[in-house]
Symmetry: C2
Amino acid sequence: MSRIDHRSPKEIRNLIRKGKWDKPTAGLAMGYAQANLVILPQRYAFDFLLFCQRNPKPCPLLEVLEPGTFQTEFLSRDADIRTDLPRYNIYRNGKLEATVKEIKPIWEKDFVTFLLGCSFSFEEALLRANIPIRHIEENKNVPMFISSISCKPAGLFHGPMVVTMRPIPPDKVSRAVQITSRYISVHGAPVHIGDPSRIGIKNLKKPDFGDPVTIRKDEVPVFWACGVTPQAVVMKAKPDLCITHTPGHMFISDLLNEELASL
Amino acid sequence: MSRIDHRSPKEIRNLIRKGKWDKPTAGLAMGYAQANLVILPQRYAFDFLLFCQRNPKPCPLLEVLEPGTFQTEFLSRDADIRTDLPRYNIYRNGKLEATVKEIKPIWEKDFVTFLLGCSFSFEEALLRANIPIRHIEENKNVPMFISSISCKPAGLFHGPMVVTMRPIPPDKVSRAVQITSRYISVHGAPVHIGDPSRIGIKNLKKPDFGDPVTIRKDEVPVFWACGVTPQAVVMKAKPDLCITHTPGHMFISDLLNEELASL
């Protein structure tokens, strides 16, 4: 983690709210959970909530707000979802229309906000246990692949699971499973360990999103469900409107990663 | 467990479907998960799904069906929710109107079915670890109390958490926490350990539901979230229609309890 930051989540959210930070949030407010954002009009909300309930690994819900509500309660008592993320993507009919720094002007009373867990939380725990994370070592984005694993459909929403890959030394795979199993609300345990072809991945050097990383001799490719899945699934369903965070530009919560961990 | 039964879930569901079993399901199909049932018209479904998302300990969702669907997919590939429970309660405007053996005649296309985990699953695991369960030893119903812990409200739905109490010897409390922590989808770890007055319970001898049990000297009262909570919350919201299982008359799934356990 090259950029270590000791400002509190509240301080950083205030900077963002004032338009003074519009860059990615990786490395900010270390120790605190960051969240993916999906906002949909209420007519799509039941189907999407059901999709998340059926696919908790790619879509781990941290908080869902009532229709029209823009203040979180669980993740922070002091946040406005319309202004407190550095950048938002606005999609209409599945197409990116604009990237903006706040969504106050287009907010509607029927908007339902979904905040989903993100793998930053479990990566911190892996690093603390001295398990290497190659894309961090190489200062890259995590490699992501569209797998052949189908998500369970719900109403309008369906599609394949997107997975992240981290190469892990053989003697540390077991520990990596144990550690990430504790973080159910941020993707949890791996969905696949070993042979990429078994989940439809032909070439680990050519990720569908993010960057390729070095895989050393004997290292095992370990695959986790990825938070890009719900965004891909929503885009495919082409709702007339959907707002998400711009990739990497997450919501910073007041909740410690450890507060999300189970036994 | 006085009544041990070795018939498969499918065999038992077939008996129930044919009207040949209308008694409680405790002790049937040992090893397999049983589920609580809540059916609501679609106009209430988003609020109730959100309530469950916000209160996973009392309301651990095992499966939610699409509007109008009466066949499960995850819990069984071979079940009809309208006929495969021994008894159903029909509530109108929060009042019990009838108890019936099937709901085919009143099924509507907008009914949304929720199946929730039940503590039978973790009790089996506690018994296997030689942790005594007093109400089973004494052949009683588990004592249940309306606590002063508030559930997080969602839309129409709000109310206090109902908890079950099991007295545990001091040297086994820690193990009881560890074991039930693995069963997140069937209420998970205790919500409170020790002094009942701290969660608004005045007299352990006078449960609000179920039976009082013997608490031996030095035993610690341990409280778990209870599946009666969602039913109590729904009754309070007085939807014009709600169907549940009749208490004790659960849905028997094809899923092993072990399949529900985490690390």
